[in-house]
């Protein structure tokens, strides 16, 4: 092999290897899907994370422990922390703790005592639709970011192993009053569902 061919072969090998390396680690899929990522026990099978055949109905999923945040943490911040930790490390946030389940239809408990932090459901932290469909989390971009640009940023975040795309914030749903409890909720608290199954 001539010297020129050897140099070309080396360059080719380097190029191919770098391309292959980028392609193998390019995507880390998160969000609604088949739940292929490893999840800690509190999040394993969480219906807002694992949705292989559509958004599950609130009426048909198992109750699970809730997550309580330190005093002073807002619902928006709690969702942001939960999104990053769940879709990143596959676990609840480090500053949060597991507590007893909220009633099925309650998404957020605001404590009567301000010294206590809020409690967020791990069944449907981003709430549920009127028919009970449990919503997967999503992000929001500044108004001047087009959908094409947002998609590009999400793809780059996937490639670079980042949970949050550039400029994005974790979206906060507009919860209905029946999804929120002030103080300890009663066992039957929650919204009546359009599918006919009331939140028990």
């Amino acid at each position: 092999m001539t010297r020129r061919r050897m140099v070309a072969a080396v360059i080719a090998i380097v190029v191919v290897a770098s391309i292959a390396g980028v392609a193998v680690g390019a995507f880390r899929n998160v969000g609604p899907g088949d739940g292929a990522r490893p999840l800690s026990a509190p999040l394993s099978g969480a219906p807002w994370l694992v949705q292989p055949t559509g958004s599950p109905s609130l009426s048909h999923v198992a109750i699970r422990d809730s997550v309580q945040f330190p005093a002073g943490v807002s619902y928006a911040r709690a969702l942001s922390e939960l999104y990053v930790s769940a879709l990143g490390a596959g676990d609840i946030p480090a500053d949060a703790k597991l507590v007893a389940p909220l009633p099925r239809g309650i998404v957020l408990e605001r404590p009567a005592d301000p010294r206590t932090g809020i409690t967020v459901s791990l069944v449907a932290p981003w709430g549920y639709a009127e028919d009970g469909a449990i919503l997967a989390p999503w992000v929001e971009f500044p108004s001047d970011v087009s959908s094409d640009e947002a998609l590009a940023r999400m793809a780059r975040a996937d490639q670079e192993g980042r949970v949050l795309p550039e400029g994005a914030i974790v979206a906060v749903p507009a919860l209905r009053p029946c999804q929120i409890s002030i103080g300890t909720p009663g066992p039957s608290a929650g919204c009546a569902l359009a599918d006919g199954d009331g939140a028990p």
Partner: protein
């Protein structure tokens, strides 16, 4: 040399082929007609949607897989900011938008990859 070039081309092709191509479309949704099919992509990894005018807010977006009838959502959006959902879905996925009876027709910018 030809073999080296062929190898590089094949590798580049495999790399590009492994990524779902981005598809986008403007979607005009008429009021009172429920969800409209705006975009279809195979096994998407991300989706983004934006109401292009305040008259189209609030609106709902959902994802539908016709092969088995699976539906994800609907998400109700109260903003003209672009919303994005990271996905891990297989099969042909249709993004649908319902303008909830406002601003007929309402225009939305939709994209998936």
């Amino acid at each position: 040399m030809a073999a080296v070039l062929l190898c590089c081309l094949l590798a580049a092709g495999a790399f590009l082929g492994a990524r779902a191509l981005a598809v986008s479309a403007l979607c005009d949704v008429t009021a009172s007609l429920g969800f409209k099919n705006c975009l279809v992509v195979g096994s998407p990894s991300n989706e983004a949607v934006q109401a292009l005018h305040t008259s189209g807010v609030p609106y709902q977006m959902e994802l539908w897989r016709s092969s088995d009838g699976s539906i994800w959502g609907p998400w109700t959006i109260y903003s003209t900011s672009t919303q994005g959902v990271a996905l891990s879905l297989s099969g042909a996925i249709t993004m649908q938008v319902d303008n909830l009876g406002t601003g007929s027709p309402s225009r939305y910018s939709t994209a998936m990859n």
